[in-house]
């Protein structure tokens, strides 16, 4: 499954603002689009997360389409890949679910967004860890054949009732600022043995480049919000405040405007669980 499956139901528009390369993404108009996106996103998530396990996605898709239930072993494997973000019992308030849906939405459309550095060469995204702070994704880009650059991403859900999108973006930027070195220090270690020597070399410098604000590093924030009408004019001002890079390509902001994000997230989860239960 390609990201285009989701993207074709989304309306992606540039979001003009002085602080970052911005994008504003909504569902296209039309009956059942929302449900279709939920199901396509579920397939996208299952496809990506189950990719490493031989036959697991096929098994999930078969069950999703009404096939026979999994035996315990197969179900255990699928759960192991999918449950961390989508198991109801582990997330009674569903905050993690909403955050995960936003992250996966970003992952589904990332390839279609050219934030100024083109397509990523390598992406590290949505790790599970005993700690839940740090970046949510790391993209490596190949600006020229000898030199790579990277962008550290943070995805956030916006709780519409309590604060503004700007506040959420600023919070994400603060999180990147405060926990960036820790996350980068950790992810850099395995990447220092990556098969691509250029990735190894960049991995060995990630934290230093980040701390010194080197031109090879960039930031990105994606926010999912239920608010669909009155986005602020400068939602990414906080991103600029914390990362005052002059090159706008080094700051990327994406806002997903989804009416009732909480119920959409539930729909996505229900679709995922259909392939498991």
């Amino acid at each position: 499954m390609s990201s285009g499956d989701v993207v074709e139901f989304l309306e992606i528009a540039a979001f003009d603002n002085p602080d970052a390369t911005g994008f504003r993404i909504r569902f296209r108009e039309g009956a059942d689009v929302r449900t279709e996106v939920a199901h396509r996103l579920a397939r996208h998530i299952a496809s990506r997360l189950l990719e490493p396990a031989d036959g697991a996605f096929e098994a999930w898709a078969d069950r999703y389409s009404g096939g026979t239930p999994h035996d315990e072993t197969a179900k255990g494997v699928i759960e192991a890949y999918l449950v961390s973000d989508f198991t109801p019992t582990k997330d009674p308030d569903q905050t993690r679910l909403r955050g995960a849906v936003v992250e996966h939405l970003w992952a589904a459309v990332a390839a279609a967004l050219d934030g100024g550095w083109g397509m990523p060469l390598h992406v590290e995204h949505e790790h599970f860890s005993v700690i839940d702070h740090g970046g949510d994704g790391l993209s490596f880009y190949e600006l020229d054949p000898t030199e790579l650059t990277f962008r550290l991403w943070e995805s956030k859900r916006h709780e519409a009732d309590s604060s503004s999108v700007t506040t959420t973006v600023t919070g994400a930027a603060e999180q990147l600022k405060s926990h960036g070195p820790e996350y980068l220090a950790r992810i850099s270690k395995p990447l220092q043995t990556h098969r691509d020597e250029r990735v190894q070399l960049l991995a060995g410098q990630l934290v230093r480049l980040w701390k010194s604000g080197d031109e090879r590093c960039a930031v990105g924030v994606s926010v999912g919000t239920s608010k669909t009408k009155s986005l602020p004019t400068r939602p990414f001002s906080g991103l600029h405040t914390h990362f005052p890079y002059s090159d706008i390509a080094r700051k990327e902001g994406v806002v997903f405007e989804i009416e009732d994000l909480a119920s959409f997230a539930k729909e996505v989860r229900a679709a995922i669980m259909r392939g498991i239960e």
Binding site: P52, F128, V130, I187, Q200, L201, V207
Partner: protein, 1133 residues
């Protein structure tokens, strides 16, 4: 002072381009964090500091192959990062998961920052591992990573076994080598197993396998989301090089026997890697102490730098390569005991034995591969038979060698080493001096090297950080107020607040923080002044320090130690942790003894006046962290390895009207400070010196801890010079040798000259002055004294030699061998002449009875003569500790006899010192008397006299009398127990009584005790845990070499007492600990379901226990049932 806060270190660690704090800003941030930690604020670290930590951790741990940073910068960056992570871990609010992340990061940076023991100390703080591979692979990797880097084999082996089974079960379920999201974690589990196997056994293929496994895990496509596992794996790839490079197998020269390394890696505690100073020493081609051709070494390591392990390694290597034994000399019985127990945990792997030599006067030397003894015992054995000693031992190790400068014992130590050195100049014998305080190594080197080349190794490295504080108490004049008289008072009172002030230092500069606390009021009314007691004054700082960990307070006197313990206990609730210790102390000392009360509150005091077994139980309670504070004299600090976080030096002596009397010397202070933060147990320790009347201010004393102390011969001190002058005047007025009123320093010198004269005689060398003077040239004193002073001493030596030549042959040899001061020999001769007819009046049978012989020997004023050789304060008693001394009359002979017949300490105290009302002081005086007179002086002198009388009269007399007096036991059984390493006299006496009632003699006693077993020891002998442990070691059957055989891959047949009725032949089980709430825990054969089917006999327990402690699995296959049950044991690695 802590190097980690050195501005230069911080500057070189920081990456200039990384937008980090400046060195001074970072130092300030770190200092503030240290201060918050000290005061127990528990604040979350500043985000700027954490940012810096992760950045430096990153810089420090980037793969060296990428060549992005200089290696030295990486080491320094890691040192600082580990420091910050360690401080962050003090925050108790962080989640368990994050605690593991920070711990692993701190461990990695510790190892790669050359502070390997801190990785072990960090692992010690974690809860036991609990995560399962299936439910939490990332957590498993973190927990396993932390445990592996802690290098705790006892935990690691069973953990790897469990996780290995789980991983294989996952693979079985998946029917493939790839197990989906668990792939990376499974590879981490197997990789850790490979790495651990290499560290234990040295198979290089396994470390290559480990590296490959970790590489797969770091980049496994099926586990790309498992950040924790990938992070752990990424580091472990590099740590294969670090740990592999520091591994025993890599560091030891290629021609080192495998058995040497194996004894270290599977012994207790397992040592798989070495620390930088050890690696540096062993890597020196020209001066490796493992090299048998290097015959003299001086190892000067600060405490916690690994000198103990290094000497153990040298000992193991000697035993694995040479046919001769090893003699280890240590200044105190407590240290000898600890050395024996530590080595005992390794020697089984070589199938070698260790023993502690008997007391002075014991005619029978201990026989074992390694013999540990005090300097005085060593001197006695050397004097008694030089050739025998040299044929038995090929390696001599002198621990705490700075004892040469000790005022009372130094000369014996120095002269004995000098003689040994002289005797072995052209032989293969090796001498190693070890100390933390041999700063003046140049003269030490030339002393034992003379014309030979002597490598000296001085290391400044230290694992844990050490930070300093001073504490002073003063009146705050600004609070002065006058209170008018009230009630019956006639004059007004002046009240001033007394305030305690603590200054914290993190480097050699000024204090970084100061805090004050009101101690209490000082009230003056006319000439009367009432102020807080010394104990009340130091109480606030001790209480503060106790919040962060165990505190050891060090005092110049027993009285001060007891007073502080009582003061601290007075304001504390009862502790639930010390119940067993309270019972034991009440049993040994009586309910009314003050120690019992303080123990109830989780506080203890510890000094030489307490029975040895009580001292040992207190030390064990500190190791288990059952006690918060121990108030001790230097008895506890001279080498015993105790894990405390803070050492408070409360006083260094006392002031009287004339002067300040220093009781804790700079080297004592260094030893005491060395107890703070032991390597591998703590990452940081505080040393606090309380300002007292000592002429050297507390701050200076702390700074001097980092200054090399000049070790001075006792003949080169001002006191010796004064003594020399006094004796020269005595000689001036006399025709020949003067033996009356001889200053102690000269008396010891005369004795050595006499000994040298006799030794030259034996060697058939002309017994002239030149020969003796040549012998004196081998002493440290002759390296340090100016020629003109040497000549003055040589003139006295000439007088001694002349007297020697004038003496008859018997006297010549006898006086040379006693080891006492020369003038004391005359007294001993007198006593021997008087005792001979008395002893001959006994029948032949009576002369075999040690108690009768002793009684007869001490009669007719002979005891008084013997006591006249020591200061009278050692055998005089008084009613009160304070005020004008009120002497009490004690029948010392009766007291000695009651001690020797094994009477309980409480009875001795009550019967003989009943006039002393203070329980603590009564016991203190008794214990002092017993330690100085019964355990040391009398056995020594009585042994000499009995030997002389027996030789002169040709009559057999019980020669074991000195041992009975030393141990204070009445029969052969009890004596055998005490000589065999049992520390508790009470237990030995109890066993003796029970054995006598059962008709068991000392020959059958071991098997009888074995049959009684742990249960019997507890029920019939009321054995405490420490006593039962001693019995376990005593009954151990060393003849089987069972542990070494099992380790060598052999099967061992084991007879059992009983076995469960429903067990069949060929059933397979394991040997493991049967019950977990007992101390010590008994072993049993367990069936496949973990049910106990047969107990393991006490004689076999210790031999199997060492294997279980190292984490091995012992499988047991039932070979026979019924009346003669048995199993075959195998080691399952």
């Amino acid at each position: 002072v802590e190097r980690a806060l050195d501005p230069q270190l911080l500057a070189s660690a920081l990456d200039g381009g990384a937008n980090l704090p400046t060195p001074s800003e970072l130092r300030s941030l770190l200092a503030n964090a240290e201060i918050a930690s000290f005061f127990g604020a528990g604040d979350t670290l500043a985000s700027e500091l954490m940012d810096t930590a992760w950045t430096l951790h990153h810089v420090g741990t980037v793969r060296p192959a990428l060549r992005l940073y200089e290696p030295e910068q990486q080491v320094r960056a890691n040192t600082v990062a580990a420091h910050i992570f360690d401080l962050a871990l003090r925050d108790q609010r962080i989640s368990d998961g994050y605690r593991h992340v920070l711990t692993f990061a701190a461990q990695v940076s510790s190892i790669r920052g050359d502070r390997m023991p801190n990785a072990t100390a960090l692992a010690e703080r974690l809860q036991p591992m609990k995560a399962s591979l299936r439910s939490a692979p990332g957590r498993v990797s973190l927990e396993l990573g932390c445990t592996l880097l802690g290098l705790r084999a006892g935990d690691l082996r069973p953990l790897l076994r469990r996780l290995g089974l789980e991983a294989r079960e996952l693979q079985r379920q998946e029917q493939a080598a790839h197990v989906g999201v668990w792939s990376a974690a499974v590879n981490v589990v197997f990789g850790c197993d490979d790495l651990f196997a290499y560290l234990t056994n040295g198979n290089r293929r396994r470390i290559d396998d480990a590296r490959e496994r970790f590489l797969v895990a770091a980049n496994h496509p099926e586990s790309e989301r498992d950040l924790d596992t990938r992070w752990v794996a990424g580091h472990l790839i590099d740590l294969c090089d670090d740990l592999g490079g520091a591994s025993i197998w890599s560091v030891l020269p290629p021609d080192t026997p495998r058995a040497t390394a194996r004894a270290m890696t599977v012994g207790s505690p397992p040592v798989m890697t070495l620390w930088p100073p050890q690696i540096a020493v062993l890597g020196e081609v020209m001066c490796s102490p493992l090299d048998a051709s290097i015959r003299r070494s001086v190892l000067t390591f600060p405490t916690s730098a690994g000198k103990t392990l290094l000497t153990q390694l040298v000992i193991m290597n000697h035993l694995a390569t040479e046919d001769t034994g090893v003699c280890v000399v240590a200044p105190r019985h407590s240290l000898c005991r600890e050395i024996r127990e530590d080595l005992d945990g390794r020697l089984w792997a070589l199938d070698k034995s260790i023993a502690e030599d008997g007391p002075l006067g014991d005619p029978t030397p201990a026989r074992a591969s390694v013999v540990v003894m005090t300097p005085e015992r060593f001197a006695a054995r050397l004097r008694a038979n030089e050739n025998e000693l040299l044929s038995e031992f090929g390696l001599f190790i002198f621990d705490e060698a700075h004892l040469v400068s000790d005022g009372s014992r130094g000369w014996t130590f120095e002269s004995t080493i000098s003689r040994l050195h002289e005797l072995t100049t052209s032989t293969a014998h090796r001498i190693i001096l070890v100390s933390a305080a041999l700063g003046g190594t140049l003269s030490i080197q030339s002393w034992i090297g003379a014309s030979d080349s002597v490598p000296a190794v001085v290391a400044k490295w230290r694992g844990p950080r050490r930070l300093h504080a001073t504490y002073s108490v003063n009146e705050d004049r600004s609070t002065r107020k006058v209170v008018p008289p009230e009630g019956k008072q006639r004059i007004s009172r002046t009240v001033v607040d007394v305030v305690g002030r603590v200054n914290l230092y993190v480097d050699r500069g000024a204090a970084v923080a100061t805090a004050t606390s009101k101690v209490g009021p000082c009230v003056t009314a006319g000439k009367q002044k009432k102020q807080p007691s010394a104990a009340e004054k130091v109480q606030p700082i001790v209480e503060l320090a106790a919040r962060a960990g165990v505190v050891l307070t060090v005092h110049a006197t027993k009285k001060a130690a007891e007073a502080l313990a009582k003061q601290l206990a007075s304001e504390r609730p009862e502790s639930a942790n010390t119940h067993a210790l309270v019972l034991l102390a009440a049993q040994r000392l009586g309910n009314s003894h003050p120690l019992v009360d303080v123990l109830r509150k989780g506080i203890a005091y510890h000094h030489a006046a307490l029975p040895i077994d009580v001292q040992v139980e207190i030390e064990n309670a500190v190791r288990r962290k059952h006690l918060d504070v121990v108030c001790a004299t230097t008895t506890l600090t001279e080498g015993v390895n105790l894990p405390v976080r803070t050492v408070v030096i409360c006083d260094r002596g006392y002031r009287d009207r004339d002067a300040y009397h220093e009781l804790i010397s700079p080297s004592d202070l260094m030893n005491a400070a060395g107890r703070a933060a032991r390597a591998g147990r703590e990452t940081e320790g505080w040393i606090i010196v309380v300002e007292d009347a000592h002429p050297t201010p507390a701050r200076r004393a702390l700074l001097d801890l980092d200054t090399d102390q000049e070790v001075q011969s006792t003949l080169a001190t001002p006191a010796a010079m004064a003594a020399l002058l006094t004796y020269e005047q005595l000689l001036h007025d006399a025709a020949g040798l003067v033996l009356a009123g001889v200053p102690a320093e000269v008396d010891g010198f005369l004795a050595y000259c006499w000994y040298l004269a006799d030794a030259k005689d034996l060697l058939d060398v002309t017994s002239d002055v030149e020969a003796v003077i040549a012998g004196l040239g081998s002493t440290l004193a002759w390296q340090q004294l100016p020629r003109e002073v040497q000549e003055r001493w040589e003139a006295i030596a000439a007088v001694a030699v002349s007297a020697y030549n004038d003496a008859d042959v018997t006297r010549r040899t006898r006086w040379a061998r006693t080891g006492v001061r020369l003038s004391a020999n005359a007294v001993l001769e007198e006593v021997a002449q008087s005792a001979a007819p008395a002893l001959l009046s006994l029948t032949e049978e009576e002369r075999k009875d040690p108690l009768l012989v002793l009684r007869k020997l001490l009669e007719e004023g002979r005891l008084a003569k013997l006591l006249s050789l020591i200061p009278n304060r050692d055998y005089r008693f008084r009613t009160t500790r304070f005020g004008r001394p009120q002497p009490i009359s004690v029948d010392v002979a009766a007291l000695v006899m009651d001690w020797t017949v094994g009477r309980d300490l409480t009875d001795l105290a009550n019967d003989h010192l009943g006039a002393v009302k203070d329980d603590g002081f009564r016991f203190e005086q008794l214990s002092d008397f017993l330690a100085k007179v019964c355990e040391h002086h009398l056995p020594w002198t009585v042994g000499i006299i009995l030997d002389w009388v027996a030789t002169d009269t040709g009559t057999a007399i019980c020669q074991e009398v000195p041992n009975y007096v030393h141990y204070g036991v009445p029969d052969d059984v009890a004596l055998a127990l005490m000589a065999g390493g049992v520390r508790s006299r009470r237990l030995a006496v109890a066993v003796g009584c029970e054995a006598s009632a059962e008709g068991v003699d000392e020959i059958r006693m071991r098997s009888w005790l074995t049959t009684l077993g742990l249960q019997g020891w507890r029920s019939r002998l009321q054995a405490s845990p420490a006593e039962a442990s001693d019995l376990m070691r005593f009954v151990r059957d060393n003849t089987k070499g069972m542990s070494a055989k099992l380790l060598g891959g052999n099967a061992v047949a084991l007879q059992l007492e009983t076995i469960a009725a429903d067990i069949a032949v060929d059933e397979v089980g394991t040997v493991d600990f049967a019950l977990h709430d007992e101390d010590p825990r008994p072993l049993a054969v367990l069936d496949a379901f973990g049910e106990e089917i047969a107990p393991i006999g006490a004689a076999d327990q210790r031999g199997l226990e060492v294997l279980l402690e190292a984490g091995f699995v012992l499988t047991a296959t039932v070979t026979s049932v019924g009346d003669t049950p048995g199993v075959t044991l195998r080691l399952d690695e």
